[in-house]
């Protein structure tokens, strides 16, 4: 089956892609680029660099712009998926949704309208186990955004490893933070992994942080041989 993966460059879409590659053929990565910094659906920072990952894993990417206003961005997403059907003949859409009913329901509705299979390989996965899996399978994931109390500046740009997973577990217990960032607490970017033919090297980046909102903005990056 030909599949299109909704793709932001964050860990969930990358890992969903890996799972999809085991189930069928991923024929394209669909990236919706939002102009709204607070988009409800689409993860924004660094999405401009998702093309590097597409290149690294060797799958074509389809990018689609949206103004990112609350419900209109869904129409744009629907258009993007329809385009993927036209261009790449996809029969199913893959998402990295884990627990966010908001996202899952909306994508499902679009798929139903377009008569496509909606595949959520990570749905309801245990979040901590999932993070450990990412690390043990060799994904190199950095935190490119934090949006939750009490995450501080030290999290911005940090690599997900077992120590950091331990801290997330404590924060989950104390502040109900979703360890994988499903509540919009954390955003990530993947630099390397088993499906990567090349890895990404960040040459320059800028950090910002204020009142529990922090970002790691990639300014210059390139692919290097592994």
């Amino acid at each position: 089956m030909l599949l299109g993966v909704l793709f932001s460059g964050g860990k969930d879409s990358v890992y969903a892609c890996r799972r999809a590659m085991e189930t069928g053929t991923v024929s394209c990565l669909i990236t919706v680029v939002s102009e709204n910094p607070d988009s409800y659906m689409f993860h924004t920072p660094n999405v401009a660099w998702a093309n590097l990952i597409a290149e690294a894993v060797g799958i074509p990417q389809l990018t689609w712009p949206t103004l990112g206003e609350e419900e209109e961005e869904l129409a744009d997403l629907s258009d993007a998926i329809a385009a993927a059907v036209d261009l790449y003949g996809i029969e199913g859409v893959v998402t990295g949704a884990i627990e966010s009913v908001y996202q899952a329901v909306r994508v499902q509705r679009i798929c139903r309208d377009l008569d496509l299979w909606c595949y959520n390989p990570l749905w309801q996965i245990d979040q901590l186990e999932y993070l450990r899996l990412l690390v043990s399978e060799g994904f190199e994931v950095i935190i490119t955004g934090v949006f939750a109390y009490p995450l501080d500046e030290a999290w911005v740009g940090a690599r997900i490893d077992s120590r950091l997973i331990g801290e997330l577990e404590a924060l989950r217990d104390r502040y109900a933070i979703n360890p994988s960032g499903e509540g919009g607490e954390i955003e990530t970017f993947v630099l390397d992994g088993p499906i990567f033919k090349k890895r990404i090297e960040i040459l320059r980046a800028e950090k910002t942080y204020e009142n529990y909102r922090g970002r790691f903005l990639i300014e210059e990056a390139r692919l290097v041989d592994k």
């Binding site: 607070d38 949006f147 109900a176 607490e185 204020e210 529990y212």
Partner: protein, 731 residues
């Protein structure tokens, strides 16, 4: 300990006869002779020897109390007295008189039904006399009067017979004036003290004698005889012919109510739940077969058994093995031991029925003020509100780095044992803050941390605690955004009316009362009707009001919003001092429909920051604590005392002459009163008697604001300039 055991047996035999029980507190101004009087009652019950009564100070069992000559902690004792051929169980609490330990008195008043108010015949009613009386009346605790140190009138003031009677009469009048001023209704309903009836006794606790009008007939000793015996210095005969404990017992047993009688009136005052409930009926009738209703008034640590929760059992029968719910705690606790106190010792007894003061182990999650019940949904008792607030702070550090973790644990424990202590733990810097009632309070706590908990510490010189408040309101709502920007809260900040703040501080309004009752009180204090109806939370003297209507998901989010509000008011935006007198009105909310996008990590900071920014937009002010200072000084030394006050930004409120003494009443900021003890002694050649009492918070002079903020922030390691609203809203 054969004797103790026997007494315990007699105590247990009386425990289930509530009409034979009296739960009493001994209260007074400092040094008026409470503990000395307690000794007399203990001797009367055969628990200490008559020879030592008045000198042993059995209830001051901590060596520190004996060394300093003051009571620091309330102490409980259960004893049996025979009166007119019948046995009575008297559960007595001896309370401290020093203002710094006043919290103990407030708490004891919840456990008892009656109070013996002790007044020094020479000094008369003093500021703390007034305070303890007020506390008793507020808790619906019935007073009787013991005029102590009558020997001093004769031996020191050398008054004659007539003058003695005059002075005593005036003293009683003063006490009744106080009662009347505090509660006219009660005064009329027979709460005044009356020598002819017998609710007043006169005597000398030190010399173990006392008389009361009804007793005069049987003892044949009246004022005249007392005068004569004192003249010839024969206190011994007096003590034999009219022993103190007999006169006091007569008063206690006849005038102070049994739990059966008391609970009928008291429960409605200290508990505001549903009056048609089983729990209420059972408490009202002091029913030992009803559900458990136990109010914790003290937590202490037993080296063997761990934490002991002492308090008053209003309903049910406590027994080991019971699973009980603690207010505000999800999991039940299991009762391990039940017992009673005999001063320093705790004696285990099998069960404790309603109407008694009980000491219970196993209630790990209980705090002072917790309601413990067999009914999971029991409405808790009203909080015990102490009139004073912690106003003095010291920084505490462990001397040895290896003690760092232990110190944190110890500080948490002392805070649990002493609810008037406010501990602020900073694990990052290791410098913890400890706020208390005064210099003495903190000195004692620090000493005990070293002596009892074995942690060597250093403490900084004391500084005062400030309050943050506002003089104006925000123009429109402040928007608080959650870190993920998917939730928005619109909050207006306004000052609460002073009448409302006072009512909260006095415990007249709380979230524990039924909504309608609360609403009516707030309206009567001048709050808007619509606002009064929508109270979501009251914290310290701040209120959060929900003015929105029909917002989806609001209910499930409210708790988190309140948490944000509490955080903002605990650590105010100006310099992280507590906030008072602030009203936050939630005007509108936008919530993400997906629950995981509006968890604590999103809602708490958003509300907190909106409130913090709002306070800074509403003409923020800093308040400092004040104390009333009462000084009794001979005419010649008056000048010295006055200049001590005036040199400390103090204000003289009144000056009265009494004989050749001047009584000065003044008010001064606490920050200026450090070291006052030494200074006034010097200024008056040691001839002044003085005491202080908490007098609330007042704005600091505006000119001092910037500098004070800079100092406080600097001390806390914050950046020193005054923060701006945008600092809390930036994102």
């Amino acid at each position: 300990m054969g004797k103790r055991k026997k007494i315990a047996e007699r105590v247990t035999a009386l425990m289930d006869k509530p009409d034979k029980i009296r739960n009493i507190g001994i209260v007074a101004h400092i040094d008026h002779g409470k503990t000395t009087l307690s000794d007399n009652l203990l001797a009367g019950a055969g628990m200490i020897s008559m020879e030592l009564a008045g000198k042993q100070l059995f209830m001051d069992f901590d060596p520190l109390e004996q060394a300093r000559g003051i009571t620091i902690d309330s102490a409980n004792v259960s004893m049996v007295h025979e009166f007119k051929g019948e046995e009575y169980l008297i559960n007595m609490i001896d309370t401290p008189g020093h203002v710094d330990f006043g919290g103990d008195v407030t708490r004891a008043m919840r456990a008892v039904d009656g109070a013996v108010v002790v007044v020094d015949a020479v000094e008369g009613a003093m500021p703390q006399t007034e305070t303890v009386l007020r506390q008793a009346l507020k808790e619906n605790v019935h007073p009787v009067l013991f005029v102590n140190k009558v020997d001093r009138l004769l031996n020191e003031l050398k008054v004659d017979k007539q003058e003695m009677q005059l002075r005593l009469g005036k003293l009683i009048d003063n006490i009744n004036k106080l009662i009347r001023g505090m509660n006219e209704e009660k005064y009329k309903a027979g709460w005044k003290v009356d020598a002819a009836e017998g609710s007043v006794a006169f005597g000398s606790a030190l010399y173990n004698w006392a008389i009361s009008v009804p007793q005069m007939k049987s003892t044949g000793i009246g004022f005249g005889e007392v005068y004569d015996y004192c003249q010839i210095g024969d206190m011994k005969t007096l003590a034999e012919r009219c022993p103190l404990y007999v006169a006091v017992n007569d008063m206690v047993i006849r005038f102070l109510p049994s739990p059966i009688k008391a609970q009928k009136e008291r429960v409605g005052v200290i508990w505001h739940g549903d009056r048609s409930s089983k729990l209420y009926k059972s408490m009202e009738s002091c029913d030992p077969a009803g559900p458990i209703a136990f109010m914790v008034t003290d937590i202490s640590v037993d080296p063997h058994a761990g934490e002991v929760a002492t308090g008053r059992l209003f309903s049910g029968t406590l027994e080991r093995g019971m699973e009980l719910s603690i207010s505000g705690v999800a999991k039940p606790n299991r009762v391990q031991q039940t017992g009673i106190f005999m001063g320093a010792d705790r004696i285990e007894v099998e069960k404790i029925p309603a109407g008694n003061i009980a000491a219970v182990t196993g209630l790990r999650d209980a705090f002072v003020g917790s309601t413990v019940s067999s009914d999971r949904d029991a409405t808790p008792f009203e909080d015990i509100k102490h009139v004073s607030e912690p106003v003095v702070t010291v920084a505490v550090e462990a001397k040895n780095t290896r003690d760092l973790p232990k110190l944190v644990e110890v500080l948490r424990q002392v805070a649990k044992e002493d609810p008037t202590l406010n501990i602020n733990i900073n694990e990052e810097t290791g410098e913890h803050l400890m706020a208390g009632m005064g210099e003495l309070h903190l000195e004692i706590v620090a000493y005990r941390i070293q002596r009892d908990k074995g942690v060597e510490i250093t403490t900084s010189p004391p500084i005062v605690v400030y309050r943050e408040s506002i003089g104006g309101k925000t123009s429109g709502a402040v928007e608080g955004k959650s870190p993920n920007h998917h939730n928005r809260f619109y909050i207006e900040i306004e000052p609460l009316l002073p009448e409302v703040v006072d009512a909260i501080k006095a415990g007249e309004v709380s979230m524990k009362m039924e909504e309608l009752e609360r609403r009516n009180i707030l309206i009567s204090k001048g709050m808007d009707k619509e606002e009064s109806r929508n109270i979501s939370g009251i914290f310290e003297s701040n209120i959060f009001i929900n003015m929105t209507k029909g917002v989806q998901y609001l209910r499930e989010t409210m708790e988190l919003m309140l948490e944000g509000f509490v955080e903002a008011t605990k650590n105010g935006p100006i310099c992280r001092e507590p906030v008072q007198g602030v009203k936050a009105k939630l005007i509108d909310v936008k919530l993400h429909e997906d629950a995981i996008h509006r968890g604590p990590a999103q809602v708490i900071p958003a509300v907190r920051q909106a409130v913090q920014a709002g306070i800074l937009m509403a003409n923020p002010t800093l308040l400092e604590p004040f104390q009333n200072v009462f000084i009794q000084v001979p005419q010649e030394q008056m000048g010295g005392a006055m200049s001590e006050i005036q040199g400390r930004r103090g204000m003289i409120l009144s000056m009265e002459t009494e004989g050749d003494m001047i009584i000065i009443k003044a008010k001064a900021p606490v920050s200026e009163l450090f070291g006052f003890a030494g200074a006034i002694r010097g200024a008056t050649e040691g001839r002044s008697l003085w005491s202080t009492e908490f007098a609330g918070f007042e704005p600091i002079p505006p000119a001092a604001m910037v500098e004070t903020v800079r100092q406080i922030r600097g001390r806390k390691g914050l950046k020193t300039e005054m923060p701006k609203p945008s600092d809390y809203l930036k994102a």
